[in-house]
Amino acid sequence: MSARLTARDITLRYGDRVVSTRLDLDVPDGAFTAIVGPNACGKSTLLRALVRLLRPASGQVELDGREVGGYPAKALAKQLGFLPQDPLAPDDIKVRQLVGRGRFPHQSMLALWSAADEDAVTGAMEAAGVADLGDRPVQELSGGQRQRVWMAMVLAQETPYLLLDEPTSFLDITHQYQLLGLLAKLRDEGRTVIAVLHDINQACRFADHLVAMKDGRIVAEGDPTDVVDAALIKDVFDLPSIVVPDPVTDTPMVVPTLQGE
């Protein structure tokens, strides 16, 4: 399995607080990678390092063998699209304009809005299911609609990589599955998807590659079917469970055995 995006021996910290020490990760090309783990295990921090929002204290994050820190800002932004957990919309902005902001890396300082920009925005809004919201102010949308609008913004960026930090967190269950389905479809179209996910069963169902983290370390990595068992769940989440085949997809399904207490 080839990997254009890699982390080599990276140590991540915020000031004096060390989050991860000497981490290695190969992000498989054209696959859907899900990063799972308990709260504060360093999932988001790892994602931030991959998109160079956080500079590793040591080690390298490389894209095509070149350190991400060495790319010009817009060149990297044409490769890696990123959606943070709680993005911030400007006041008064309308949906279509917000999605259009995703075109920034493709525009020069003074260039006018192009047909390519227009097509990308329209396509992204259709893919994210917000085509009918174009003229609505973002502030007036529900949490779920807003999340899909942000998703469209990242899609308009037209990057081969999509890195998403808990993209399902504000969505109801239907929209969660729709979004994950959309990510799987984008993967089928050739994009590489890396998402931090909370729900282990969703991760098992949709991801090709699972990365389980605990205390800043990667404790297991691989095809969900190969790596997910009761021992792993006990180790990573400290949760007693049985793992059965998902009746729909046959992927591993974690059923906690904890009842009360």
Binding site: A73, L80, P87, R101, F104, S114, E118, G134
Partner: protein, 340 residues
Amino acid sequence: MTAAGRTTGAATTQRGVPQAGLLIGGFVLLAAIAVVSVGVGARSISPVDVVRALLDHQGTDDHVIVRDVRAPRALLAVAVGAALAVAGALIQTLARNPLAEPGVLGVTAGAGFAITLGSGLGFAAGQAGQLGCAVLGSVLAALLVATVGRRSPLRLVLTGVALTAVLTGVALGMRLMLPDVFDVYRFWSVGSLAAREQAPLVWPLTAIVVCLVGALALSRALNALTMGESVAHTLGAEVNRVRAITLVLITVLSGAATAVAGPILFVGLIVPHLVRRIAAGSVPWLVLHSMVLGPILLLVADIGSRVLLPTGEVPVAVVTAFLGGPMLIWAVRRFGEGSL
């Protein structure tokens, strides 16, 4: 749909016909008000004569008044109005705070302090000396604030407020002890466009024009910055560089405007406010609309300053405050809390 049709469609939806229409309307209004402004005063000159004086100068008294006194004054109002309004738009965008105005960077207090100090030491007698003091004071103050507060917008505003308090207090103490200094300062501090025509205005005006162009060029990157720091970075904006250049632009714009016209900074608070809704979250449009409405507001205020009192003039800063106060209240009531 053809490619050409697509592009036009894009221009309509993304850039917005109402935006462009309003901007052009604003320009026409601005031109009309500028002509009226040149005509109004102790000696009334008809708009036709105003235009003729500029295009076909005959050397009559009226023409000389227009060319040497009134037109430069109108030009000054346009430049200062645009500078303050755009500086306000930039600081509100950068600080993510609609109540920010250029004065929060300490420029006004810095200029006031420098003029007080300069006249106390005896080298702010003429207009050139005052101008020099004001520019130096505002730039130094803004540099200090930007250096100490560059880590976060909140820190920036707090530093500006703190420095303003200190400089204002020290300057006030000096003025109370030295009555002559007080007179010099008072003339500058009321904020006026009158009797400033002879000052060496070429440099500040050039600086203003350069910075206005710079603000437009930077506005798309500022668009990215309004998406929050993480997204701005991953969209490929050079966040730190954009922020630093914006601070320089705000400093020079408001410093130059304050230096030539005194503290009329209210324009920088009210104008971006009035155009926020129209701009709908787009920094390029916010800057463009501010660039037109700022001069309009200041020209109207300047006309008012000349006609409100039968004898003499009301300082333009007083008129701006009288106009701007109610406008701000109107904007808040009309658009609700969303506009604040």
